[in-house]
């Protein structure tokens, strides 16, 4: 098993360095000759100068089915093509790809690239987490349109002292877990919400605000 990193500049470098330090074998493929020279001088990795979207270049990398391929070029369509070459021609099962346009994530997933890295989405999530108050933060989008939220209940919250079954949560939302003083409380209908509880809620993105108002009371 080796980690094959295709494209990318400094990200590729730091990723390779980190993976090497963890003891993995690393192959770097890049079509920039200066970068390749720099990589080979400073990293104990196999460095291949070439276009990673070409089958011959991937053959040089001796791509095999149990490798992990990380695709980091700045162009989505190139990344998509490389991912499909790796999966369909070389039988690689684990492919991680950078996707620049959030609108393309769906297409990558449709074509079997399960792990996509999208900087825009990551930044949006981070910014939104800052915009929402502390007690209400968006953790991760689970799937398209479904999100996982964390809500910290304080004494001002309208749900404090209520039992779960008495809270009129919209249909497309569910309290998945309650953490109370660091301990997991499995939510049941008769579970009472206390101040300080941390609620983990799975919610349809459309009704996120509605759930927010209900739990935080703003």
């Amino acid at each position: 098993m080796k980690i094959v990193i295709i494209g990318g500049e400094m990200t590729a470098y730091y990723l390779a360095r980190t993976m090497l330090s963890k003891g993995y074998d690393v192959v770097l493929i890049n079509k920039d000759s200066e970068l390749c020279e720099e990589f080979s001088k400073t990293l104990n990795a196999t460095v291949i100068l070439g276009d990673g979207s070409r089958k011959e270049v991937l053959e040089d990398a001796e791509l095999s089915t149990n490798d992990v391929v990380v695709i980091l070029t700045p162009r989505d369509q190139v990344n998509l093509l490389i991912s499909q070459l790796a999966m369909k021609v070389f039988g690689v099962k684990r492919v991680v790809s950078l996707v620049s346009d959030p609108g393309n994530i769906e297409l990558f997933k449709r074509l079997g690239v399960s792990t996509v890295l999208n900087l825009t989405t990551m930044i949006v999530n981070t910014v939104e987490a800052l915009l929402f108050p502390d007690e209400f933060s968006n953790i991760i989008p689970l799937e398209k349109g479904i999100e996982f939220l964390q809500v910290v209940v304080d004494e001002r919250s309208p749900v404090v002292g209520k039992r779960l079954r008495d809270i009129q949560l919209p249909n497309e939302s569910v309290v998945a877990a309650i953490v109370r003083g660091g301990v997991l409380v499995v939510p049941r209908g008769d579970t009472e919400i206390l101040s300080g509880d941390r609620l983990y809620v799975i919610v349809n993105s459309r009704i996120k605000e509605e759930v927010e108002t209900l739990l935080v009371g703003r």
Partner: protein, 141 residues
């Protein structure tokens, strides 16, 4: 009954794209031709009566804007294999277009197009077939 008037979207208005778009338009089909450079539409025949869209086909929005959702046939004829692949799979998987034809420069990539249900036209393969004639049967002068 088969519709005789087809809706055809052509990506890439180079020599081949412009020619196929012109032919299709002159045959009475509805044609949209897409290119990122407005000047390339000058290659279209004066009898071309379809529509043109300026945009980068490597962007999902451009493909959407080009009304691929209603297309009977999509031709991916830009000068870049990755872009053609992107156009093809968007058309097939997102917009459900039945017939997608792509030009593929690198024969090694033909397989992944075909596995995605895309018909491939590979200039190298075509040329080689044509040239083989000179080896196999070129001696009959």
């Amino acid at each position: 009954m088969k519709r005789s008037r087809k809706f055809i979207v052509v990506f890439g208005c180079g020599r081949i794209g412009s020619a196929i778009a012109s032919v299709a338009s002159m045959k009475g089909h509805n044609v949209i031709v897409v290119d990122k450079d407005e000047r390339s539409f000058r290659r279209l025949s004066s009898e071309f009566s379809g529509f043109t869209v300026v945009g980068d086909a490597a962007e999902f929005e451009t493909i959407k804007k080009s009304q691929v959702a209603n297309a009977d046939i999509v031709f991916a004829l830009t000068n870049d294999d990755s872009t053609n692949y992107f156009i093809s799979v968007c058309s097939r998987y997102i917009f459900g277009v039945e017939k997608v034809v792509a030009r593929v420069y690198d024969p090694a990539k033909a397989k992944i197009f075909e596995e995605s249900g895309v018909e491939v036209v590979c200039p190298v393969t075509l040329m080689v077939e044509k040239l083989r004639f000179y080896i196999d049967g070129g001696d009959k002068l």
